[in-house]
């Protein structure tokens, strides 16, 4: 049984311009101990999906089953226990830490909130244990976030998430604000932790090489919908959706030998407000035909655990 089952989850926001379909009918399973990578352009609903899964935002529709329990319908006090098992690491290590709290206070906050420590000693032990786990020197415990660099801050964020001993962590672009040399340190840390604690990750990013590096499965999102989903090797070897293809070909590769043919998309991402019932990518798709502009394709199983939401998948 998968740790997390997501069924037809929708999240709409009402905005002055209309209903904004941030996440539209997403269905997927996440196996325990695995990492699912979510990629897609800015504003396609990646963060919203992550927040909806851990109920930081209430889903407009759909079901989320965590560990065999449906959580969208739970009362808040019931959910409190669940919440400990589902944590989140945020994108921006600069704004996701309260600048007025010391490292110690930041890491202690979740423990205190759930009263997990017996007395001061115990709390101290737990905090220092976590700091060691994420590679923060003990002497930094009285420092404040603004005195630290991005990498160390992100470690605090990770320690905060780990402090409640979660099973599932949504990593919302945890490394995109970091320099490559630091990024590698954090990625290694995340992978080590996963191995040690049998964690399950949902890893949100727009950096293809990172997602390929860390994920077992990858889902490509476009305008609130998952348009393609497969194991990472399968997907990189054989992308089927025209958007995935374009996305992969657009990745700048730090090598002067593997120059590839680019698929350049025309135009920009369209607005997610009141989308028409058609293929949402049709407007930018180089292979779009009439059917794409008239009916919405289904997420089809293309074999080998490969799903694709395209009328013409496999044709071109």
């Amino acid at each position: 049984m998968p740790l997390l089952e997501i069924k037809n989850v929708k999240k709409y926001y009402s905005t002055p311009r209309g209903l904004l379909h941030a996440v539209d009918d997403v269905t997927m399973n996440i196996e325990k101990g695995k990492t699912i990578g979510i990629v897609g352009e800015s504003g396609c609903g990646k963060s919203t999906l992550g927040k909806t899964l851990i109920r930081m935002e209430d889903a407009t529709a759909g079901e989320i089953w965590f560990d065999g329990q449906e959580i969208t319908g739970m009362q808040h006090h019931e959910f409190r226990k669940m919440r400990m098992k589902m944590q989140m690491i945020f994108q921006d290590p600069y704004s996701s830490l309260d600048p007025r709290m010391s490292v110690y206070q930041l890491i202690a906050e979740p423990i205190q909130t759930y009263k997990l420590a017996q007395g001061k000693k115990d709390l101290e032990e737990k905090v220092f244990g976590l700091m060691e786990e994420v590679g923060l020197a003990k002497r930094l415990s009285n420092s404040y976030p603004h005195e630290l660099d991005g990498g160390r801050r992100q470690r605090i964020g990770i320690a905060r998430a780990l402090s409640l001993d979660p099973e599932f962590i949504v990593c919302d672009e945890p490394v995109s604000a970091l320099d490559v040399s630091i990024q590698a340190q954090i990625l290694n840390l995340l992978m080590d932790l996963q191995k040690d604690k049998d964690l399950t990750y949902m890893f949100i990013t727009h950096d293809m090489s990172v997602v390929k590096h860390i994920s077992d499965d990858i889902a490509v999102m476009y305008l609130g919908q998952v348009v393609e989903k497969a194991g990472f090797e399968e997907l990189f070897a054989r992308p089927l959706h025209p958007y995935s293809k374009a996305l992969f070909s657009a990745i700048p590769v730090p090598s002067i030998h593997n120059r590839r043919e680019r698929i350049l998309l025309k135009g920009e991402i369209t607005s997610p407000v009141n989308p028409k019932p058609c293929c949402r990518f049709a407007a930018r798709c180089p292979h779009a035909e009439d059917i794409c502009r008239q009916t919405e394709p289904k997420l089809r199983d293309m074999g080998n655990g490969h799903f694709c939401k395209c009328h013409r998948a496999g044709e071109v």
């Binding site: 930081m56 996701s96 600048p99 909130t113 759930y114 420092s143 404040y144 603004h146």
Partner: protein, 302 residues
């Protein structure tokens, strides 16, 4: 171009290098440190402290009682005996101004504090909960705002009568709408920070988030605004005194001294210059302090 040495480099010898490495400074402490370096803010603060000292030790500083009258020396110009001269009843204006610090200053501060608690509370709740709560609170504030604050004060004094606490209530009422708006804006800015989400994702309660994260982080902006409110409150007090709805005689409130002296403007200008100067200096001190505070706490403006 040859290598140059700037004055700062000369000042900063190698010894002081690396001192930024010290850890354990809260942003507040850092801000205070910057504040201490800010000359205007320090000037403002020194004046304010000075005034507070004067207020505390008024009986020791003032050479005469604030109500002591000497009918043989009316409307004398400034001299060594009477630094600021005397008024139409032969009272020593310097002593009156000294005692005056016991009124404008505390009233200004108390009103601001009260306004901060009431208006700040409203603003905090409005900003954090947003939606309908916000709407209701802000509509009420809109209503209050449509009445010029001095008018509101006068109307309230008319209802409540003259006196110290009535004055405090009236001026506080005038400050609430501004406070609410400022605090709300400040909290809004903080609320959108990711760390609020981060705490939410951990499961920290709304109240805890407000108290532990929003208030401490918004406090800087709030304090800056509050300092400005002290200044305007002090001006309001004096205006109310002028309008005859302030404190009653012989209270040496600066505005009242000024209002009494205004008749003699032509023959005894010192009667209006000195109390006017006291008001201006106090208000300027608060502005200076407020500006400095803003510069110190808001790195964008550096």
């Amino acid at each position: 171009m040859s290598k140059i040495t700037t004055p700062a480099m000369v000042k900063l010898n190698k010894k002081t290098k690396g001192r930024h490495k010290e850890t354990g400074n809260t942003p507040m402490q850092e801000g205070l440190k910057r504040l201490r370096k800010n000359k205007t803010a320090m000037a403002g603060m020194i004046i304010i402290l000075f005034l507070i000292i004067i207020a505390i030790f008024a009986p020791l500083i003032a050479p005469y009682g604030y109500q002591e009258q000497s009918y043989t020396e009316v409307r004398l110009g400034p001299s060594l005996q009477h630094l600021f001269g005397t008024d139409h009843l032969g009272r020593d204006i310097f002593s009156r101004c000294v005692y005056g610090t016991r009124y404008s200053l505390p009233i200004g501060l108390i009103c601001t504090l009260l306004g901060l608690v009431i208006g700040g509370g409203l603003g905090l709740v409005a900003a954090y909960f947003g939606g309908r709560t916000d709407n209701i609170i802000m509509r009420i504030i809109d209503i209050i705002q449509a009445i010029p604050s001095i008018l509101l004060c006068i109307a309230l004094v008319a209802i409540l009568g003259n006196g110290m606490w009535q004055l405090v209530v009236a001026i506080t009422a005038g400050t609430i709408q501004g406070m609410t708006k400022n605090v709300r804006a400040a909290v809004f800015m903080v609320r959108n920070n990711e760390y609020v989400n981060s705490s939410k994702s951990i499961g920290v309660s709304d109240f805890q988030i407000m108290i532990r994260h929003l208030v401490p982080n918004a406090v800087g902006i709030i304090v800056i605004n509050a300092v400005g409110v002290v200044a305007t409150s002090i001006l309001t007090i004096s205006s109310l005194s002028y309008l005859g709805v302030g404190l009653v005689a012989p209270t040496p409130e600066w505005g009242a001294i000024l209002a009494e002296g205004k008749q003699y403007m032509a023959v005894a200008p010192h009667m209006v210059y000195f109390p006017g100067l006291m008001i201006a200096i106090t208000v300027v001190a608060f502005y200076l302090f407020g500006n400095g505070l803003r510069d110190a706490l808001d790195p964008r403006l550096k």
